[in-house]
Amino acid sequence: MNQNPSDISAAPEIPAEWLAEFEAAARRPLEQRLRYAFIHTYKPVLDDEPFRAFDTMADYRRWCEENLPDWLGYGRV
């Protein structure tokens, strides 16, 4: 299909490195993608309790900010 030049200019530019990663991922079967994607490392405080429940998302966000180390990245910016 011929592409209209205005379509080309309108298409958002995806950084080449990311585009290559997206295309590589698209070639992998789902099972393999999941194997690469899920990792497990210990997160202090967050992983120290087996169960937590929060009435509201605001409560949860507040708890994260007050209790988790900043470097985990759960604080709001």
Partner: protein, 157 residues
């Protein structure tokens, strides 16, 4: 605790289907199901908040090996906005009212299906991360948005 595996994703999908749980994969785990190449540690599931669905969810979680006390099962069934479970076969976050998404029904209407896995639309995944305003999301959002552009260019959304 081992990392989440494809086999477990299938078990979630199948157990939730058996019990009729209405849910969608959300967050980075949802994006990964859509093909986003990245890493994550836990599984985020957006669950429809309703009494019937909550009870079905508790039954499905039991079948998957999550051991919940009566009190905790009641909290899950009641649909607190956010529940984090760390003593099951994998780390699981249950989200009943994610930031940035109006309602489960809205998200469900837009959802995408990947190998039988119901996944939030990439627009909703991005909206929830934008609304959460967390430092870790701010880092991943530009790449997620480029991934959305890629899906559009591929005609997948």
């Amino acid at each position: 605790m081992a990392a989440f595996e494809y086999r477990q994703a299938e078990e979630v999908r199948d157990a939730f289907a058996r019990h009729g749980v209405e849910y969608l994969f959300l967050g980075k785990s949802g994006a990964i199901l859509l093909g986003f190449p990245d890493t994550t540690q836990d599984v985020d599931v957006f669950v429809k908040p309703s009494e019937t669905n909550g009870k079905a969810l508790v039954a499905a979680l039991g079948e998957l090996g999550f051991v919940l006390t009566t009190e905790r099962a009641a909290e899950v069934a009641r649909g607190k906005d956010f529940v984090q479970i760390r003593n099951g076969p994998f780390d699981l976050d249950l989200v009943f009212a994610p930031d940035g998404i109006e309602s489960f029904d809205d998200a469900s209407r837009r959802h995408l299906e990947v190998a039988g896995f119901p996944v939030c639309h990439i627009d909703d995944i991005i909206a929830s991360k934008e609304a959460a305003r967390r430092a870790k999301d701010r880092e991943s959002l530009p790449r997620l948005k480029s991934f959305r552009d890629y899906l559009r260019q591929q005609g997948r959304i």
